[in-house]
Symmetry: C2
Subunit: 292 residues, 2 copies
């Protein structure tokens, strides 16, 4: 199937058991399996990245590969062969049925317990239609993350700031949001600092100043956020990484959640109260940053 075009989602394995270039053949996802004893399966003991692909262009691939390496180091995992991951990702995207937006996931696991050999693969998935979230905006609730803002410094074994496969609580937080009739979540620390979403970074506008929570707050450094900051800088706005209180969200001229698939989603409602949405400005950011 390599080089062809498939109407289904695809997987390419990386590393163990593949060829000399560290990349396996293109497989239909339904045939791609991992052993039940792999620690990704039994303990969420691995790391991942989700990368947007627009018109065949990878969005921020080097930043994603660097973050995969960083997360792996935080978990004392073998260093991922990011060149092989990049080759596998290009191979899989090339073989996938073209679509305006695709989503590529990289997964790097500790492998089968006791084997001392990491396992890894790339998935290419049809992108979800996020047009409504990007234009109309989303409803968000703040939820307690349970940690102080300095937890990554005091207690690195809690793995805050690593993008691990142990995402059950992020998914539980999204279900809690749904129960509260909302679409997404902004986590807040126990000492009242704005952190991140379960799968996104937070962008806050006051006038010409755009801020995002500092990456040393036990959160994931945002790849989409970094790209958007470059656009904002080019547009002449001031940007900064900051420590913000939740009250500053309520007074903002705009709040957005930034992520690799949905990209830029304005928050139109926070904890049941309306926030201003500048649809034209969001369109400008999407176009200038991602060519959308």
């Amino acid at each position: 199937m390599s080089g062809g075009v498939s109407g289904e989602d695809l997987v390419v394995f990386v590393g163990t058991g593949t060829g000399a270039d560290g990349v396996g053949p293109v497989l239909p996802m339904r045939e791609a399996a991992v052993n039940v004893a792999d620690l990704a399966v039994t303990r969420g003991d691995g790391v991942f990245e989700s990368i947007g692909v627009i018109d065949g262009r990878f969005i921020e691939l080097p930043r994603h590969l660097a973050r995969l390496k960083h997360s792996a180091a935080m978990l004392d995992l073998p260093e991922p062969d990011v060149d092989a991951f990049a080759r596998a990702a290009r191979l899989a995207v090339g073989a996938h049925a073209p679509q305006r937006e695709l989503l590529v996931k990289l997964l790097h696991s500790r492998g089968i317990e006791g084997s001392d050999r990491a396992s890894g693969w790339v998935q290419v998935l049809f992108g979800t239609d996020h047009s409504e979230a990007r234009s109309t905006g989303i409803r968000v609730v703040t939820l307690d993350r349970g940690y102080r803002h300095d937890i990554a410094q005091t207690s690195p074994w809690l793995l805050q700031g690593a993008k691990t496969l142990s995402y059950a609580l992020n998914k539980a937080a999204l279900r809690e949001a749904a129960r509260r009739d909302a679409d997404d979540v902004i986590f807040v620390s126990t000492d009242d600092v704005v952190l991140e979403g379960p799968t996104s970074n937070v962008l806050v506008r006051h006038g010409d100043l755009f801020r995002t929570p500092r990456p040393d707050l036990g959160i994931l450094a945002g790849t989409t956020q970094a790209a958007v900051f470059e656009t904002l800088g080019a547009l002449g706005f001031e940007t900064s990484e900051a420590v913000m209180a939740p009250a500053e969200l309520a007074t903002a001229d705009g709040v957005w959640l930034l992520s690799s698939g949905r990209l830029i989603a304005p928050v139109r409602e926070l904890d049941g109260r309306s926030l201003p949405v500048d649809a034209a400005f969001t369109r400008t950011l999407l176009e200038r940053t991602f060519g959308l």
Copy 2:
């Protein structure tokens, strides 16, 4: 292979894709695979149990099945068919090469993303030799869990008290213990309450009183702990579920970590300071509780 005896570890699938009794055939573990898109793999989005089997007897099977159900409910997972899990476990143990101690793992996942069909299976593994830990004892360090003691009540979306597949931080804590030249960990809350180990419950003795942290402290209710409390009661000791400060560990007449595989391990050193170990009493508990 069903009904036979295998020299390797075995897997039996449960539910989706199995027969009328909800139980699949016995498979060698190396041939048992799960799709890469299963949410157990990609998000640690499922629950599990580990059950000791001694001389073919399951230790506390009903308590483990009840806890699997409880964890699944906390994650809004479909209710696991615990009768099918029990049948699969018996089938797999019957087919496994006999050993004094085996370990059975039950895994119940949200299944392939978008499928709305849970996936699940049972693994039977050769038990590890824990004789030295049980007799000589283990070295333990206390580590900050980052949460207050009341987190399960205030913030249930953090899933404290559910045995999820998202165990990366528990494994990271054990690596931190190894870096500190220790074997295991006792987590402590940010407000100075003794919680649990990454894969164990804590038992603390002062005179004739044996205490364990209260299960509403955002910890897992212990199956081994429950069995040991029954033995202690039968031996005429007082038992209670309590809120304890870490300082109470240092003054204890004995501290043990209780879990399904290692069962009862006395703590001989806590944060570098010796604790008393009563080897004869630990042997009595192992024998009376588990027939070991």
